[in-house]
Amino acid sequence: MVLFIMNGIAANNNVKTLNINKKLKGSNLRDAIGKTVITLILFAFSLVMVLPFIWMISTSMKYEVDVFTYPIQWIPAKFRIIENYREVWFGDAPFTLYYFNSIKVTVITTVLSLLISSMAAFAFSKLKFPGRDKIFLLIIATMIIPDQVTLIPRFLYFKWLHLFDTHICLIISMLFSQSNIFFITQFMKSLPAELSDSAKIDGAGTFRTFWNIILPLTKPAIATMAIIKFIWSWNDYQNVLIFITNAKLFTIQIGVRMFTDKYGSFYSLIMAASVSAIIPLFIVFALGQKYIIEGLTAGSVKG
């Protein structure tokens, strides 16, 4: 008897699942068509985002006379790649030099900034000292001060300290990053307290606890912030414009600007310069896309 009832229930259930399956199949097909249509629309719209870049790349490989031919030659009829790029990299406004300067400033800034930020984050998350939380709040509160507000005082410091017109002013200007400190502190707080406590009992010095135990575990957060810092330092233009006047110290962003001023209406060369400035970012973005989007969504803002 019991068995019979159970069978009945099972059969009943089977019918139900069947019905649901049927329904799902119908809506699945409709969903799939809808999804395909919307994917195509999104794809068309995303062309608006990429076409300027594609135009830049294609123009950088053209003869100057072909730049403004219409309809647009997306693939150049005649290529002039090597000559254009040689002009950019070894010409009057040498990008080899600008590149070297940019890499130097960006790498030093990123490494030092991350070191300072993670040291502070370690103290804010794992050590106890009077005034800790107040200082942390103060740091976060100063996030609202725009870079431009500190521009004139920084200019004066650098003049007084005879640092004006050196790469040091660029690095110093970009070292302090509240969002890095915030992000890494939050991450370190999520690490179990036992880790640092047991290290303490072992008699490991505070610095060793930081360097050998906490820092390796914080790698994901540090990598995320490092990529983002790299991008913003690479893109920095305002500081170089104001604090650097010696052409030998120019970075890539100012280089593009100088190049544009110098070559005026040689649009193919100007585009080759832009490609050169943007390519490292595309590479970094392609490699660390997940980290970049994640880090920027987690409240780390530009700067």
Binding site: G34, I38, T39, I41, L42, F45, S46, V48, M49, P52, F53, W55, M56, F68, Y70, P71, I116, M119, A120, A123, F129, L138, I139, I144, I145, P146, Q148, V149, L151, I152, P153, R154, F155, S173, L175, F176, I181, F207, F210, I231, W234, Y237, Q238, L241, I242, I252, Q253, V256, R257, T260, I270, A273, S274, A277, I278, L281, Q289, I293, L296, K302
Partner: protein, 303 residues
């Protein structure tokens, strides 16, 4: 007992000491790069300090003279007006478009990550290079944008950035294009926090997509939209790179904005005191926006 207490005490003290050591570099930057500059700028705005070369002993306080000059300065009002116009030209379009795109990308399409990346690309690209591309694309007489419009039968194409009336809207178009991806990614992250059950129960009630978006999605992500509005307002008041590369504030003062005007006054015209005065006004605006944000976040955003 006594010795144990002392030991604990000394351990605590050493931890405090270590804590301060770890945040020392950070504190240094907090003081000299964030807090002190605000006060220095404010002080300078009350002096007659023109060029840096002026001997400090010759400086004197001039009271509110710089502020009185500023409030009589037509260019200052133009810059302020342009900043505010930029808010209205960019933020509504950007939010609406990115909201629609984010909703579509979130649920109704394939290749989600691909679209996320594509739309995000302009945001991480260097503003200088991007501005340079747009400068060529918007070349007034035979640039690709003009040619495309002509091909569509539009005869009186504007002169874009060199047109008195079109310069600011053209600039806004570029800004929206570059920042759209950031808004999309932030809204996407917020959409993922909306519980699926809410949509399911709305489905059972027979709600259509419009009702679902209006009654569930929008209220749930209000805090995010609010954050984006504030963030974009701040970004708009900080706009500088594009203007420096593209228009130099011109034609006339058509694209003059506060930060560019302060840069011109302080560093090109050697009116550091006047630049500082504009900086103070800028800071007050940014500070006021932050205050409004604090008050409103408590009032009408349920978190």
């Amino acid at each position: 007992m006594d010795s144990i207490l002392r030991k604990i005490n000394s351990l605590r003290n050493s931890e405090s000491f270590a804590g301060y050591m770890f945040i020392l570099p950070c504190l240094f930057f907090l003081l000299f790069m964030a807090i002190l500059p605000v006060f220095l700028t404010a002080i300078i705005s009350f002096t007659n300090w023109g060029s840096v070369a002026t001997d400090i002993s010759k400086l004197s306080f001039v009271g509110f003279k710089n502020y009185i000059d500023l409030f009589k300065d037509a260019t200052f009002y133009t810059a302020l007006k342009n900043n505010i116009l930029l808010l209205f030209y960019t933020i509504p379009v950007q939010l609406v478009v990115s909201f629609i795109l984010a909703v579509l990308i979130n649920k109704y399409c394939y290749f989600k990550n691909f679209f996320k990346a594509i739309y995000f690309l302009p945001y991480i690209s260097s503003t200088v290079a991007v501005a340079t591309i747009w400068m060529v694309v918007m070349q007034p007489s035979y640039g690709p944008l003009t040619e495309m419009l002509k091909a569509m039968g539009i005869e009186n194409t504007p002169k874009w950035l060199s047109d008195l009336h079109w310069a600011l809207p053209s600039l806004s178009g570029m800004v929206v294009w570059q920042n759209l991806g950031y808004d999309i990614v932030i809204i996407l992250a917020a959409l993922q926090t909306v519980p699926a059950e809410m949509y399911e129960s709305a489905d059972i009630d027979g709600a259509n997509w419009f009702v679902k978006i209006r009654k569930i999605t929008l209220p749930m992500i209000t805090p995010t939209i609010f954050f984006l509005i504030i963030y974009e307002i701040m970004e708009t008041f900080r706009i500088f790179d594009q203007i420096s590369v593209l228009t130099d504030g011109g034609p006339g003062d058509a694209t003059q904005v506060l930060v560019y005007y302060l840069y011109k006054q302080a560093f090109r015209n050697s009116h550091i005191n006047y630049g500082a005065t504009i900086t103070v006004v800028l800071f007050i605006i940014v500070f006021a926006i932050t205050l409004v944000q604090w008050i409103f976040r408590k009032k009408w955003v349920h978190e």
